[in-house]
């Protein structure tokens, strides 16, 4: 049994593929997208965590965060961005992000956040 279903949305396709592969190796079912357009089919599904970049090609990451929370509030969203300014961090948390991590991130730190986010999702059921 898989440890959890994760969706990674980041405009850097190579990063999406590599990160998904590393999560798959660790027992998760990770899917990757380089834009938001293809995300809808996942959002009504049994998805635990979305790992989301702020700067996407087709739309603003904060807008995506807002829409994810509108569609399925139980999905936990971890922001993963190269930007580390207070404004983006605070805005993300205000919009309901579970946490905000700054790239590059240690895989073990990311997994620790994913596990805590999953627990929060379970409790909210």
């Amino acid at each position: 049994m898989k440890k959890g279903k994760i969706l990674i949305i980041d405009d850097e396709q190579e990063l999406v593929t590599t990160l998904a592969e590393r999560l798959n190796i660790r027992g998760y079912e990770a899917h990757g997208l380089s834009n938001f357009a293809g995300a809808f089919k996942f959002l009504n599904d049994v998805l635990d965590v979305v790992i989301l970049d702020i700067g996407l090609q087709d739309t603003d990451g904060l807008e995506v965060l807002k829409r994810i929370k509108e569609i399925n509030p139980s999905i936990q969203v971890i922001m993963l961005s190269g930007y580390g300014d207070d404004e983006r961090i605070n805005k993300s948390l205000q919009l309901g992000a579970f946490d905000y991590l700054i790239k590059p991130v240690e895989i073990e730190d990311l997994i620790s956040k994913i596990e805590t986010a999953k627990q929060k999702k379970e409790k909210s059921k």
Partner: protein, 209 residues
Amino acid sequence: MMDKPFAFIGKIIADFTHEINNHLALIKESAGLISDVCRGKKTIDKKEMPYIIESVEAIENQINKSVNFITYFNRFAHRMDSFKSTFKLNAVVEEMYELLKRYLNRKKVSFNYELPSNLPDVDSSPFILQFVIFYAIDSFLKKSQPGARIFMTADRENDLIKLIIKYEGEFNENISQDIWPLFSVQEIVSNTNIKISATEKTMNIEINL
């Protein structure tokens, strides 16, 4: 008065570090994937080789991209070494293009420039000129609509070099960001040989030779 040049430098540094963080993230994840595949093994399975080769190639590509980007950033930083110097306009514009590319992409606005290769060297403040170019592009981007286009040309007229930055497209009527007033930028350039004027969709920058 100096808050605007500082804001310009801050914007360039923030975008630069963001970009480098993205490059480092891919390098880190690619190296991590190699480590994941190889950990605890004496030999590598044939089917795992593509992961390793692709990851090594990704690391190499990303390092090359980073080196290229850092070169532009380093050149930009050295533009502030002295207030006045002799420089090539094409080089100054190229740096701004490379450093603002991601900002333009985020706004979904294309930017092209076409400068004659035979322009004479300019004796002015390269940093202030880059600030003025940034001001022109930033003013358009703050009210731009996706799909718009910014085009820059230059020409020599007697003892002047004229830079024209044109916006092609519609503006967003609901502007959420502050746009610096033109007079405040004119004040900053007032002790240089650079002049700036504007109409709704065109910025004109003149440099006295």
